[in-house]
């Protein structure tokens, strides 16, 4: 079959990214031809500022070298500007007569700087700031001339001004508004920014209106004149007063344009379905995006459509801003100005150069503007995108969460302050230098890409915030423009919540049914979605949906923890951490008989036998004769207790018995993630109940219940939940909370994250205020657990495939 022809007009980041996505999924579908007006292969336009500032070289910012085009058989026309699209004959052509026929046309012509329509705008030495040629002209001017004027105190203008100043010029910035970056900052933050840039040597003329550019005898600009008649000297004038989508070509072909080339959710122009547009030239739902992450999202969707998959829709992006001037930290997102109907929380410390403003409307964060300390930017952006109610965290909101865990990166929380050799990811041993190098060398833009290539932040995730900061500094991307809704994995566009909802609402009871109903893209999922779906099915429809062992991670399939050498560990259950001489004797005998190399006491008051061969597992379980500890499962693990009033002279309650009762009531309970309880007999809290999913603390008059604590990556003290009188109440309230979490938690979401997502108030409303619902949840959990097998003994009932323990020959 003859291949279809795809022509790309515009050899820039958005267009080429679309091609890359397309080649990934349909490498042989099209003969591809690319036209670029610039004489360069695709480079990272965002990094022109660091090039201007002398921090990077032009070679370093090339994203796709010429060899890339060659490798993929792409015909590349550099330095050729298309000036005509003949839609009837499906032909594009340049002034020099070069032409190309297309079956599909992709327009990615980007945008141009807005040139102020003032006298003198065509003089020598007046340039825009857009491409490599402009950057080179500026670098060249800096070696010959002294006075530079930048018109426009927005993102681009300030980056240009900073770069020229670093190259030794005296730079004045003319800005029509009364503070800098008024599109991204409020007046206070804009003021702080101005002061810190002034301290570096930039001059500002705010509220100034340019009237004319005055030329000298040599035809080169020599001064800028204002409305009030005053003048300042200028040997170089850089226009950076905004950009306009390049739509002239599309318009001349009769394609509908309004603030950009109008496209639908599959990035097709509304005029001609053979023609697509992506990037800064495209207007999607009235918005032309100028930041890289939305453009890449568009590229991805466009590619799937070009590949005739017909999946995926682009539904718009929320964006955040970050200035690429080294040493200046600012961040803004959403409606940061506030106004009628909004509330503001403001923290201002002008002396230290820190300013933070959060804008709240209808109990949701709708905007944030940070200057000087932007560590929490990504957290605020997340809250903003998710639209989470913030009443319960309002008092802490300003102080941030810092989405950076406590451990694993030497306590750093500001990436910029770290040395190249400092470790960012303690799990995988990845240094700051290695991450930055990968971002530059491989052209990475998103967290997912960095995770894939470097493994940083790919294991425990505690350094995610740091990695995001590095992406921001290095690639200059708006690092967190991930869509509001996150797909479970590459097999689907649906989020965890959507899948949960569909399984429940449509009464889906098998993985095949879920795949069918939600149009899964892969025949049998992947290692990410299968365990999640399996959990959702069995937790939504207990006794109905059948557990699928092949969709469980190996630990849950073999009911033991795999170790680095392929052996397993066995942790039997010890109710409440209590054991007997008989149990210990059986354990000791098994250790001898099966030559188990290591015996270790765990942090959860149990005993761990490490290095058991897979073949020996069933026999070890049988010999030990104790129930499964589920230490390998997303399930109830330990219930840690202190000795309590039975022995302790301080004890007020029988915490050991309470712990055993809780454990017996809820063991075999699978959950979105592992679950740990603890019960202490008095407020001295020797069982460390404050960092458990449910912590119970005995007091003289009853029990205090704490929930959603965590002792892991991010130490999080549990929240006080309620005070209870009897042991029966402790069981009911704990069970009800667990069942709520089991029904609503996303797979691999610990209670700490679940509660932070839905809010503590929400959980209180369900469990404390609604007694009937609480009793119903507790009854549901008991029903689900009733008759559940012990997988170490009831193999058939637990669906344990014994063949896995034997080898074949």
């Amino acid at each position: 079959m003859k291949k279809s022809k795809l022509v790309l007009i515009g050899n820039g980041m958005a267009g080429v990214r679309t091609l890359e996505e397309l080649l990934k999924i349909a490498p042989d579908l099209y003969d591809i031809t690319v036209f670029g007006a610039e004489p360069h292969p695709n480079y990272n336009r965002i990094l022109l500022s660091p090039v201007l500032a002398g921090e990077q070289t032009l070679d370093e910012i090339v994203l796709n070298p010429l060899s890339w085009y060659e490798e993929h058989g792409i015909t590349l026309h550099l330095g050729k500007k298309i000036d005509r699209i003949d839609r009837r004959n499906r032909l594009v052509s340049c002034a020099d007569g070069t032409e190309a026929a297309y079956d599909r046309l992709l327009i990615a012509t980007g945008s141009s700087p807005f040139i102020l329509p003032v006298p003198g705008k065509d003089l020598d030495g007046v340039i825009a700031y857009r491409d490599i040629a402009d950057t080179e002209a500026m670098i060249d001017a800096a070696t010959k001339y002294r006075h530079a004027v930048v018109i426009g105190g927005g993102l681009l203008g300030l980056e240009a001004a900073n770069g020229l100043m670093l190259r030794g010029m005296q730079v004045s910035v003319i800005h029509i508004a009364s503070w800098l970056m008024e599109r991204q900052l409020d007046d206070q933050a804009g003021d702080l920014l101005r002061k810190s840039l002034e301290a570096r040597g930039l001059r500002f003329l705010l509220g100034a209106q340019t009237q004319a550019l005055i030329g000298g005898k040599d035809g080169r600009v020599m001064a800028v004149q204002f409305k009030d008649g005053s003048e300042i000297p200028a040997d170089l004038v850089v226009m950076a007063a905004g950009i306009r989508p390049n739509t002239a070509l599309a318009e001349s072909a009769g394609i509908h344009c309004q603030r950009g080339i109008v496209v639908n959710d599959t990035l097709q122009t509304t005029t001609d379905p053979r023609i697509y547009a992506v990037g800064e030239c495209a207007a999607h739902r009235g918005i032309a995006y100028g930041l890289v992450a939305p453009l890449f999202e568009q590229g991805k969707v466009c590619a799937t459509h070009l590949a005739q998959f017909g999946i995926g829709r682009y539904q718009g992006s929320q964006t955040s801003t970050k200035l690429k001037v080294t040493g200046i930290d600012l961040f803004s997102a959403g409606d940061f100005m506030g106004g009628e109907g909004t509330e503001e929380i403001v923290m201002s410390d002008p002396f230290a150069g820190v300013y933070k403003k959060l804008v709240i409307k209808d109990d949701q964060l709708v905007g944030a503007c940070l200057y000087g300390d932007t560590v929490d930017g990504s957290w605020y952006f997340k809250l903003l995108r998710e639209g989470r109610k913030i009443a319960d965290i309002r008092d802490k909101l300003m102080f941030g969460e810092s989405n950076i865990g406590d451990v694993g990166h030497q306590g750093h929380n500001k990436a910029a302050a770290m040395a190249d050799a400092d470790e960012v990811c303690g799990c995988n041993g990845v240094s700051k230098g290695a991450i930055c190098k990968a971002i530059k060398d491989k052209g990475l833009f998103t967290l997912e890409e960095v995770r894939k290539h470097t493994k940083a932040s790919a294991s425990c995730g505690s350094c995610t915030g740091l990695v995001e900061q590095l992406i921001m500094f290095t690639a200059g991307g708006d690092y967190s423009a991930t869509p509001k809704k996150k797909a479970i994995c590459g097999c689907t566009d649906h989020s965890h919540q959507e899948v949960r909802d569909a399984i429940f609402a449509e009464h889906l009871t098998s993985m095949a049914a879920v795949h069918r109903f939600l149009n899964w893209k892969t025949p049998n999922g992947c290692a990410t979605c299968r365990p999640a779906l399996n959990y959702y099915l069995i937790s939504s429809w207990p006794k109905e949906a059948k557990d699928d062992p092949q969709s469980r991670y190996i630990n849950e399939r073999s009911h033991a923890n795999i170790q680095k050498d392929g052996t397993y560990s066995v942790i039997p259950r010890m109710w409440g951490g209590e054991t007997t001489a008989d149990e210990l004797r059986r354990i000791a005998d098994a250790v001898d008989k099966y030559k188990i190399p290591t015996v270790k006491v765990t942090g959860g008051q149990r005993i761990d036998l490490l290095g058991v061969k897979k073949e020996d597992l069933p026999a070890v379980w049988k010999d030990i004769g104790m129930p499964s500890g589920h230490a390998y499962a997303k399930a109830l693990r330990t219930v840690k207790t202190c000795v309590g009033s039975e022995w302790c002279r301080m004890g007020t309650q029988d915490s050991t018995q309470m712990g055993k009762d809780l454990e017996r009531a809820m063991w075999r309970m699978y959950a979105p993630h592992k679950v740990k309880f603890a019960v202490s007999g008095c407020p001295r809290n020797c069982a460390e109940a404050g960092i458990k999913d449910v912590g119970i603390i005995g007091v003289d008059s009853g029990w205090e219940m704490y929930i959603a604590g965590n002792g892991g990556i991010k130490t999080e003290v549990a929240h006080f939940f309620c005070k209870l009188k009897t042991a029966a109440e402790v069981l009911e309230y704990t069970g009800a909370f667990m069942q709520l979490y089991r029904k609503e938690g996303w797979y691999l979401e610990r209670t700490v994250h679940y509660v932070s997502r839905v809010g503590l108030d929400y959980v209180k409303k369900k469990i404390l205020d609604d007694a009937e619902l609480r009793r119903q949840l507790w009854a549901e959990l008991q029903h689900a657990l009733d008759g559940e097998p012990d997988p170490w003994f009831e193999f058939d009932k637990a669906g344990v495939d014994l063949r896995q323990f034997e080898v074949v020959a």
């Binding site: 892969t522 992947c526 290692a527 092949q550 991670y553 050498d565 896995q804 020959a809």
Partner: protein
């Protein structure tokens, strides 16, 4: 060279699962069965840190290593990009419900590899 050895029946391998083939020498061989009953065999060692691929989740024509989640292609043993590495593959025949591996390959491929070790034997001093 062309001797083939029956290692098990197709039915002995769970769908989207695997079995381990013991050899007199060298690491075990993992045989995998896909959803549409195709069978592949790889050396039971991930090219990354030697994890036992037989214990991974099988999906499509790939298996995810249980240790660090590398994705390995069943037909070639190649790690999915951007990870780099390859594990040895074995020829497989399925005849009348029997799964056969090539005896010569069983006798030779990966025989010299040292086992992955953990635990007290790795302690220094």
């Amino acid at each position: 060279m062309s001797e083939w050895k029956t290692v098990c029946q197709l039915e002995d391998i769970p769908v989207l699962g695997s079995r381990r083939v013991q050899r007199p020498l060298g690491p075990q061989v993992a045989v995998f069965r896909t959803a549409d009953d195709r069978v592949f065999a790889l050396l039971d060692r991930c090219p990354h840190k030697g994890g036992p691929l037989s214990q991974g989740i099988v999906f499509g024509e790939s298996v995810a290593c249980p240790l660090h989640n590398w994705t390995i292609a069943l037909d070639s043993g190649q790690a999915a990009a951007p990870d780099e590495g390859c594990t040895a593959k074995f020829s497989v025949r399925v005849e009348e419900g029997c799964v056969l591996l090539n005896q010569y390959e069983l006798d030779t491929i990966g025989i010299g590899l040292l086992p992955v070790v953990a635990g007290p034997c790795t302690r220094v001093g």
